[in-house]
């Protein structure tokens, strides 16, 4: 038994040892002007960080942006997932899947850079606007750019997670609803939508997780004006190499982000229990 598990236990030991050191160091202090740390052990970092208006604003802002993006991904992703699950045309299905998976596997740096080019002052969008005599739009180096690019980044996660659940809802249920006199929209809202809730919550959970920890997109497309929690941590390391403070912010942020995540998880568990029997 144990011989099957010792490799993974070793990896987990490294991972959690790293976090153990990390937590321990959040109680120390940087020796000014160096990258070294020293005691005494205290909760002072936590007091300072929790009292910092800047940190509070960034934490709240990060959660708020994540909510907006999760909502946008839901509105855009649900129809796509629905079509993907229900289309009779294998070719349409294959094409959309292909697009999603290629986008998904092409990675973050590719897409962040692509949106930088697309949304930039000299990018195709603003050039076209100018050619037609309109003033250019400020799409880059602000929240708009971060939102657009992040929504694009998370849609494959969202759709690929939700699609399976919708596919597993028997077509016959929707047909039964229509046979009983419901219009297409009613059949959807009273049968398909509720039954897809477990998958929908899973997809939103994943989207939120990915967004809340986003770092590269605000870094490249925010132009320093959009600070998310990850960027704050990065700046603390980059500018002052203050490990104890970075550790404190990291741990607090991890705790803050776990609150909505656990709420989502509990919701999904509840839904899973309720719809467990009909899902497959």
């Amino acid at each position: 038994m144990l011989w099957l598990l010792w490799p993974v236990l070793l990896v987990l030991a490294v991972f959690f040892a790293a976090f153990g050191y990390f937590v321990a160091d959040s109680f120390l202090h940087q020796i000014p002007g160096t990258a070294m740390m020293a005691g005494p052990v205290s909760l002072e970092n936590y007091r300072t960080i929790l009292g910092s208006v800047l940190v509070q604003r960034i934490f709240v802002g990060t959660l708020w942006i994540s909510c907006k993006i999760t909502l946008a991904a839901t509105l855009l992703g649900y129809p796509l997932a629905y079509l993907l699950a229900r289309t009779a045309s294998a070719r349409v299905r294959q094409a959309i899947l292909f697009l999603l998976v290629v986008t998904f596997l092409s990675g973050g740096i590719t897409r962040a850079y692509a949106w930088m080019i697309l949304l930039g002052n000299n990018g195709p969008i603003n050039r076209s606007l100018r050619d037609f005599g309109y003033p250019p739009l400020a799409l880059l180096n602000n929240e708009t750019g971060v939102l657009i690019s992040l929504v694009h980044f998370v849609i494959p996660f969202f759709v690929l997670t939700l699609f399976g659940t919708i596919k597993n809802i028997p077509m016959a249920l929707e047909e039964a609803a229509r046979n009983l006199g419901g219009r297409r929209w009613r059949a959807f809202t009273s049968v398909t939508l509720p039954l897809s809730l477990p998958g929908l919550v899973s997809a939103m959970l994943l989207t939120f997780t990915v967004t809340v920890s986003s770092f590269l997109f605000p870094l490249l497309l925010g132009g320093g004006r959009v600070q998310m929690a990850a960027n704050l941590i990065y700046d603390k390391m980059e500018n002052s190499f203050d490990m104890p403070v970075a550790a404190t912010i990291s741990i607090l942020f991890l705790l803050v982000s776990l609150v909505p995540l656990s709420a989502f998880s509990l919701l999904r568990m509840g839904l899973g229990r309720r719809f467990g029997g009909t899902r497959r």
Binding site: P7, V8, F22, A35, L99, S106, W185, A230
Partner: protein, 274 residues
Amino acid sequence: MNSRRGRPVNSRPYALAVPAMAAIISAFLALPVVVIVYYAFSPSGLMVFPPKALTLHWFVNFFASGRFRGALINSLLIAALVTPASLGIAVPTAIALVRRDFAGRGALNALILSPLIIPGVVSGVAFLNFFTWTGVTSGFWRIAIAMMCFTLPFAVRALVATLHGLDGALEEAGRNLGARPWQAFLAITLPQLYPGLLAGGIFVFVEAIDNFSIAVFLTDLRTTTLPVEAYGYIRDFDDPTIAALATILIAQSLILVFILQRFVGMDRFLDLRR
């Protein structure tokens, strides 16, 4: 518009709304990919349409640059190291999780998957701190070890899903026909794990190549990776060299999708993601 009341149940507007939206969203998905590939071949740093000429200049620039060549080699080496290691650890883990019953199985599963919900930057700083304490100064090994921890959940997930789909009686049938436990594993279970190995391997490989938020903390003066180097380049220069890199990564993604379609099938692959 005045014949609304007589509309049949299976009305055109409804029937068309979803596909129309899907088409628009698909276009939104494809847009950056198309634009960046086009940009990579455009002669000036400006996007002009229709193109006056196409050029491979930015690809040449990419491969000629010493910083990118080193980063490319590092990224590939790390991915080539992490992918088999991750799968090699994930196979026995998945077998224990699916086929054995032991106390704390659910908890172990949750622990293994936990790196997925920890923001990359947090893991990155934590690893940097850990490696500073333990004296691991080589950027290569720091990134490789961190990637190992971070990609393992992808591999375990894919293999657990594959194993769940396998009939446990198959291995018993092998034992009944005279195979020792390891023979039954090698001859019967392992060959059927290949969809999980391939899908899990692709996730791990792509993540190991593409990861930025952890790797950016762990590089050293001699060792960087492609995304970290690309970020540095974007900060300093404004030309399509990174578009050439992006195009290469898109090509890689196309190849991987082709492999998946050929050997696993797209539907199967998607089932293995969860």
